[in-house]
């Protein structure tokens, strides 16, 4: 079964397009990274899936349930962490966590306690007195404590310190190996590269590529870095050309023999050929 499928999903805000003909497919049990710059449509996609906003056209389903018709049933199997989370003022952390499970008609006090301890969160504090990072932790607990089948996380690590980020991804990985599907949006590629199994790039409201992370890393492109003088204009398949303090780098998808032949005839002092990082692949897609 698919955890998430969207079929030409579209959301317009008046004349402004939020997402356009979005086709996304997330397998059950996957650890899915949804990557894109600010304003690309990540949050719009997530908010549409969750029924906070209604799609303009197209359809989408979560665990084969329609996001419009089966909205309330779907929310039963989801845990969601918004990118900017806010709670009711005057409530303590404990009360917020309790309110969240009460609305789910469940008792998860043991799991909540365990998560609070791991994330180092003081539950007696008032939520309005919390820092951004600590508010995020409360949101993480509300999203995870009932161990949902699908976790949807919108830019989950913003505001968390590096140690907490590590612990957070450890928790996510555990939930994932216990069978939860994880769907997270991010613009930090390194975290997607290290933790996600599958990734999709979104640009201007459309998915431009979606594949296994290893596959994306093997695009066939190589990252060429050299120092010296070499004219790349005659080469085909050059992108992301950058010059920096005497060294030049670019992504190359053309014939490697031709490159080496041309290079051997030029004044090259140093040369390295490496696999590009996901970030470089990503930049490549965005500039294309």
């Amino acid at each position: 079964m698919k955890a998430i499928t969207t079929n030409n999903l579209k959301k317009k805000y008046g004349d402004i397009i939020g997402i356009e003909n979005l086709n996304l497919s997330v397998d059950e049990g996957d650890f899915f990274g949804f990557i894109g710059p600010n304003g690309a449509g990540k949050s719009t996609t997530i908010r549409t899936l969750l029924g906070l906003i209604a799609p303009t056209s197209g359809e989408a389903s979560i665990f084969d349930m329609d996001i419009v018709g089966d909205h309330d049933k779907i929310l039963d199997s989801i845990g969601y962490l918004p990118s900017e989370i806010n709670f009711y003022n005057k409530m303590t952390v404990k009360e917020v966590i309790k309110l969240s499970v009460d609305m789910r008609k469940k008792d998860c006090s043991k799991k909540a306690e365990e998560l609070c301890e791991r994330l180092n969160l003081d539950t007696s504090k008032k939520v309005d007195a919390l820092s951004l990072g600590n508010r995020k932790k409360v949101g993480i607990i509300c999203a995870i404590q009932h161990q949902p089948k699908l976790l949807i996380l919108d830019e989950p690590t913003s505001g968390l310190d590096p140690l907490m980020q590590k612990e957070f991804f450890k928790i996510l990985s555990e939930e994932n190996s216990n069978g939860s599907t994880v769907f997270l949006s991010s613009h930090i590629l390194s975290e997607v590269q290290s933790y996600c199994h599958t990734a999709a790039f979104i640009k201007d409201g459309r998915i431009i590529v979606s594949d296994k992370v290893e596959k994306l890393e093997e695009t066939g492109a190589k990252k060429i870095t050299f120092s010296g003088t070499f004219d790349t204009t005659t080469l085909k398949g050059v992108s992301d050309l950058q010059q920096n303090e005497g060294t030049t780098s670019f992504l190359y998808t053309g014939d490697i023999k031709k490159l080496l032949r041309l290079m051997s005839e030029s004044e090259i002092k140093d040369l390295t050929i490496t696999e590009p990082t996901l970030e470089e692949i990503f930049m490549n897609y965005y500039e294309a």
Partner: protein, 262 residues
């Protein structure tokens, strides 16, 4: 019931402050009455001769020499304005605040349907209004007894019933508005209530503007009419209830489909 409980808890502070403030002023008014009673015969004559100013507030028709006459005007203004403001603010913020305080994403991503949230929020608004009116009525009756006045139950109960209905009407209308806005609703709520109040003043001043009483809920809460007729104008009241129901229906229709702001 979770949302209802949560709502009541969230609004506890505002409820206590409003009830205490209105209750205090009504108490103060009633306890001032024995001192003013003797001078009131004169005042009634003065008011009766002040023409449209008096008729605007219904003071031309009431006898200030009696407690009920005094109560209907003085306390009528306190409860009529204070209670209505509280109802307006409670109604207009009920749905709107989730987007304004940015808690909508938290609330509506839990498996609770929007319909259920709307219903429980509406019940919470109505519970607060009813409870406030019961408390104020008890305070009023007890303090009337304390100053040794005879309690004229029919008039008092009718009068307070009309006030309660008016507040429910304003609460319902503002609840409907609440579904449309996502910020700064308090001004709208108070503005509408104040407009209703002034429409009634105009209707009282000029016979030609009498039709305004069909629009404003102050038409059926006018103390001078209720005390003199010993009844509430059923037509005005029914129209008011229609406005209330329309407000509530609009809230359901709009809010179940609304795109919620992040």
């Amino acid at each position: 019931m979770i949302i209802l409980k949560h709502e009541l808890k969230q609004n506890k502070g505002a409820f206590i402050i409003w009830t205490a403030a209105i209750g205090f002023f009504i108490l103060a008014c009633i306890f001032l009455y024995p001192e003013m009673k003797n001078e009131m015969d004169e005042a009634t004559k003065v008011f009766a001769s002040m023409g449209t100013f008096s008729s605007a507030f219904g003071m031309d028709k009431l006898n200030f020499g009696t407690l009920i006459g005094f109560y209907a005007v003085e306390c009528g203004n306190i409860l009529g304005i204070g209670g209505a403001f509280f109802a307006a603010i409670s109604g207009v913020t009920a749905l709107m605040k989730e987007e304004k305080e940015r808690t909508a994403e938290f609330l509506f991503t839990h498996p609770v349907s929007r319909k259920k949230v709307i219903t429980e929020k509406l019940i919470s608004v109505f519970i607060m209004i009813v409870l406030m009116n019961i408390i104020i009525l008890c305070l009023a009756v007890l303090s009337m007894a304390a100053i040794g006045e005879k309690i004229i139950w029919t008039e008092i109960l009718l009068y307070h019933f009309a006030q309660l209905m008016m507040q429910l009407e304003i609460g319902g209308i503002c609840f409907g508005i609440s579904a449309y806005i996502s910020s700064s609703g308090i001004g709208i709520g108070i503005g509408i209530t104040a407009a209703f109040y002034f429409l009634n003043l105009i209707a009282n001043i000029s016979d030609k503007a009498d039709f305004l009483k069909y629009i404003t809920p102050y038409g059926y809460t006018d103390g001078s009419d209720i005390i003199n007729d010993k009844s509430i104008n059923v037509m005005y009241l029914l129209i008011g209830m229609v406005f209330m129901v329309v407000g509530i229906v609009i809230a359901y229709v709009k809010y179940t489909k609304k795109d919620l702001k992040a």
